[in-house]
């Protein structure tokens, strides 16, 4: 085997082979990789560079370079603004509500579906349950609006039939959040269950058979076989959810909210949108956005670290 062979068995890139030679040998690969990498640098890292305007008094005419540094002024404004408390509170409360109600729902659905006998009904139920996931929030918000309409909606028809006054759900500070959470669950419960069902389908059937022989009821089999099987999936989903704790569902809220319910529905993202793109306060909105991204990052890292400590195999890395 001589060094002169033009096409050798590809060497594993490691510290032993000098970088220059690695680059030369893998020219083709690098050429393939560069365009996409540049695209990522531009559209993903580019904005990170632009984040510095959070610390500047950004004037669009002057550009990033021409604008002056103002340090933490925007952050100070953010933390002392009266609106902020409301926005932060809403974001965290809505996120937590989504988690508390939205996390168990797909799990329960998966366990239920798992008890169905294989066949048309089971497949039909599954297919129908994930359909809303593929429909946009614009459409679903419109559906919700139609169903909850005080004049022509089903829900209010029932309410009126029971003798009560119609409820204006979408402009009511009491009802908006429940509607938000319930419609979010409606949209996502089916799709959310797919991951769990996939895990459940990988269980060795002999485990269930052995349990049946031992006299275990369906509920017992659920508790002792199904649930432990999906526990790792649950922790991954939980970690990812924790990372998105400040997300609270922009697409949904944006399409469903209105000024009447800002008090309970305005979240960080909707606030940033209005401050930045409607009021043109670019620097301020960037500062708020940066705060949110940082908290999200910290949340993912810490949740993962905690899960790692408890059960290494269940963590993301």
């Amino acid at each position: 085997m001589s060094q002169g062979m033009a096409v050798a068995v590809p060497k594993k890139a490691s510290h032993k082979v000098p970088l220059r030679r690695q680059f030369k040998a893998a020219r083709g690969l690098l050429l393939m990789f560069i365009p996409g990498f540049l695209l990522i640098l531009l559209f993903n890292y580019g904005p990170m560079y632009g984040l510095q305007i959070a610390f500047k008094d950004f004037k669009i005419m002057r550009g990033i370079w021409g604008s002056n540094w103002v340090g933490f002024e925007h952050f100070q404004r953010f933390f002392t603004s009266p609106v902020v408390l409301r926005v932060l509170k809403n974001t965290i409360e809505i996120s937590l509500m989504r988690l508390v109600f939205g996390f168990p729902a797909p799990i329960i659905l998966a366990l239920l579906i798992n008890e169905l006998r294989d066949g048309f009904f089971k497949r039909f139920a599954q297919t129908v349950s994930y359909l809303p996931h593929f429909i946009s929030w614009v459409i679903i918000a419109a559906l919700v609006r139609a169903l909850l309409s005080p004049s022509t909606g089903v829900v209010n028809a029932a309410i009126k039939a029971l003798g009560f006054q119609p409820i204006y759900f979408l402009v009511s500070t009491t009802w908006f959040r429940p509607v938000l959470i319930l419609s979010a669950i409606w949209k996502e419960v089916g799709w959310g269950s797919v991951l769990y069902l996939a895990a459940l389908s990988s269980v060795d059937p002999t485990l269930y058979e052995a349990a049946i022989v031992d006299g275990a009821t369906r509920i017992q089999r659920m508790r002792h076989i199904s649930l432990p099987t999906i526990a790792p999936v649950m922790s991954i989903v939980l970690i990812l959810n924790m990372g998105g704790i400040l997300d609270a569902g922009f697409d949904q809220i944006f399409n469903m909210y209105n000024t009447n319910v800002f008090e309970v529905a305005d979240i960080i993202d909707t606030y940033v949108y209005r401050a930045g793109l409607i009021s043109y306060e670019y620097s301020f909105a960037s500062a708020v956005g940066l705060f949110k991204s940082l908290v999200g990052l910290i949340m993912v890292l810490s949740t993962n670290a905690i899960v790692r400590r408890l059960d290494r195999g269940s963590a993301l890395w």
Binding site: G50, L109, T127, L131, V138, R218
Partner: protein
């Protein structure tokens, strides 16, 4: 329904499960059914509240009104354009970028992969992203919704799939003198149909449903996508701007005249039914995709 070994308690559980499923199916389907019935209703029937299970006689005025809209078809066309171009571009650039990361001899692989993974955890945010596109002169151009379509998640999924292709296949190609790119085109891609189909479907759905990107980046009337039009009509009740108006032939038949709700229902049906019809046939690819992506790492 029941298995041989089911105890009495088990039978209750099974009955409960099946009942729960029926309720679930009803809850999932009814909202759409409600609007379907509404869209075919006469004005009087539409003004009534209550469960809409059926209506008679059928009234197609709402559909006439909606389908008369020139803007609707323009928006439809723009959405299709975006889906086709956006998905093709994303598939191409993602595969091209993911393949090198799957090869052992890629230099600095760890660094590159790490940098890509990092973008999943942190980003510039809305305002810097907007300003970037503004500085690149991409605002109000169709490209702005298509070009940035390279995401870490899809790269990782494709990379994992490429990795699972046996080494011998790739080695034999390079021993035959094929360059990396040739190997990629002629051998890897044909073998990657499952992952390509999956990423294509996910991307297509994302493009089709995206309303926010167009909302902030597109203002030209001719470039409006379907979701923007839907937002304006369904949520902001702007009918005339979208070209949805009652026709002259309605004239005297009051009962056929669509209410706002009827028009909205018809529009909703027109835009949702295609999805509902196509969806059952393609949904298994989405499920397969979850399996592919579910392999950690």
């Amino acid at each position: 329904m029941f298995e041989r070994h089911d105890t009495l308690a088990d039978k209750f559980v099974v009955v409960f499960v099946y009942l729960a499923m029926l309720v679930l199916i009803f809850i999932m389907v009814y909202p759409f059914w409600d609007q379907l019935v509404m869209s075919f209703s006469m004005r009087e029937a539409a003004l009534r509240g209550g469960f809409r299970l059926w209506t008679w006689p059928l009234n197609i005025e709402s559909y006439r009104m909606v389908l008369r809209s020139h803007q609707l078809f323009v928006a439809f066309g723009n959405s299709i354009y975006r889906v086709v171009m956006g998905t093709s571009w994303t598939l191409f650039i993602t595969a091209l970028t993911a393949y090198p990361l799957s090869r052992d001899n890629m230099p600095l692989k760890g660094l590159f992969t790490g940098m890509i993974l990092f973008t999943m955890l942190f980003g510039g945010g809305l305002i810097p992203s907007y300003l970037l596109r503004r500085d690149l002169n991409l605002l109000d151009k169709r490209m702005v919704l298509i070009l940035p379509g390279l995401g870490a998640w899809n790269i990782i999924i494709m990379r994992n799939f490429f990795r699972s292709i046996p080494h011998e296949v790739q080695e034999s190609a390079s021993l035959d003198g094929a360059s990396d790119f040739r190997t990629f085109l002629s051998i890897i891609l044909p073998l990657s149909k499952p992952v390509l189909a999956t990423v294509a479907l996910w991307t297509a759905v994302g493009h089709w449903n995206d309303f926010f990107g167009p909302l902030i980046y597109i203002s030209d009337k001719n470039k409006v996508v379907l979701q923007q039009l839907l937002r304006r009509v369904l949520l902001e009740s702007e009918f005339s701007h979208a070209g949805i108006q009652p026709g002259p032939e309605l004239g005297d038949v009051m009962n056929k005249r669509p209410t706002d709700e009827m028009a909205k229902a018809a529009l909703l049906m027109v835009t949702t039914v295609p999805i509902v019809l196509v969806y059952p046939f393609v949904q298994r690819y989405f499920i397969k995709g979850i399996m592919l992506g579910a392999v950690k790492g």
